[in-house]
């Protein structure tokens, strides 16, 4: 590295990009870690049914299992394309 390189802009900080990407994916994977195995299948099948009536995106369905004391609540939200309102069942 000589004086010219030194004066040029420093290389891009790719470690920061790596950290941000990891932060997001790890958080996402952790949240789905203790959920039942059937969730991805349920999601796909629900999506197929909904798509018979409304054209929604592949990631329009959000399914979560939340623990509320002794109960487990299956929370399902579908983002509809035009109205942008969530229907919660």
């Amino acid at each position: 590295m000589g004086i010219l390189d030194f004066l040029k802009s420093r290389p891009k900080n790719t470690a920061t990009i790596a950290k941000e990407r990891l932060r997001i994916i790890v958080a996402q994977e952790r949240s789905s870690r203790n959920t039942p195995d059937y969730l991805p299948m349920l999601r796909t099948e629900l999506l197929a049914v909904i798509r018979k009536y409304v054209h929604v995106d592949l990631d329009a369905i959000n399914i979560q299992v939340e623990r509320d004391g002794e109960h487990e609540v299956l929370e399902l939200s579908v983002a509809l394309p035009e109205h942008k309102t969530d229907t919660t069942a």
Binding site: M1, G2, R10, A15, R23, V26
Partner: protein, 270 residues
């Protein structure tokens, strides 16, 4: 009391076997009676790293299937008489391991008065890896400062918490430590590599040791001598520190800063 420590990672090639060999040797050097077991059935390599590849007669699978006794299969280390290697089978596949068999071998080692059992896990999350961690009291998760290794480590941390005896019996899973290997301080400083804090923040666990990327690791494996025995090696010294911390000592991290460059060097050449 026998303590079983699993060395695991999810991803391959991060330094599990190198770490297992150095951990077992380091513990033995402190006078502990240690057994190190290769769980990578079909792809054994711990024997090579420990330098006992030509002395393997019976292996772990033979003992599990009662084709040999544990005493026959344990290979005494050439350098430490209180250190023993249990090689993996090279001809069988991973299904040759059974949970009952593994448990029986671990219990037998306990009865033989071993202080530590180091389980060298194969990569992946298949049977060999899950059995290596199942009975562990503690885990050393080897992670490289690199995206795929960090993500896989998180997956392994999840499995340690749930798919282990300690996880299934409601004891909160296997307590885990992170060991950061192949660390390059110069690249971290220039923003090209994840730093210690980055990895700790993403995984939510403190790092117990940092092993710098160093030529001595390859030189050690070439010769079949665990790198911890290379006293002049930075990686070897970092392993000594990490093991001391594992045993409860507090030691400052070394070899984690890039060497300081003078102004002249910074301006006119590297």
């Amino acid at each position: 009391m026998t303590e079983t420590i699993v060395v695991t990672s999810g991803k391959g090639g991060v330094g599990k076997t190198t770490t297992s060999a150095s951990l077992a040797t380091g513990l033995a050097a402190q006078g502990k009676k240690v057994a190190v077991i290769d769980f990578d059935v079909g792809l054994r390599n711990l024997d090579l790293i420990m330098g006992c590849e030509r002395r393997v007669v019976y292996d772990f699978v033979n003992v599990i299937h009662q084709e040999a006794t544990l005493k026959q299969a344990l290979i005494r280390d050439k350098r430490h008489e209180n250190l023993f290697v249990l090689a993996a089978s090279q001809t069988r596949d991973k299904d040759a391991l059974t949970q009952e068999g593994v448990q029986r071998v671990l219990e037998e080692l306990g009865k033989e008065g071993f202080d530590y059992i180091v389980c060298d896990s194969p990569a992946g999350i298949e049977k060999g890896a899950s059995l290596a961690m199942y009975f562990a009291d503690r885990a050393l998760v080897v992670v490289n400062p690199e995206v795929s290794s960090v993500r896989d480590s998180d997956r392994i941390l999840g499995l340690l918490a749930s798919k282990t005896r300690k996880g299934e019996s409601g004891q909160g899973g296997v307590p885990a430590h992170l060991l950061l290997t192949r660390y390059n301080p110069v690249r971290v400083e220039s923003g090209q590599m994840l730093g210690i804090k980055d990895v700790e923040e993403v995984l939510g666990l403190p790092v117990i040791g940092v092993i710098p990327e160093h030529e001595s690791v390859l030189m050690a494996s070439n010769q079949g001598v665990p790198v911890i025995l290379d006293e002049g090696s930075l990686a070897g010294q970092a392993y000594v520190d990490a093991i001391a911390r594992l045993l409860g000592e507090s030691r400052p991290m070394r070899f984690i800063d890039a060497p300081k460059k003078g102004l002249f060097k910074r301006m006119f050449g590297s």
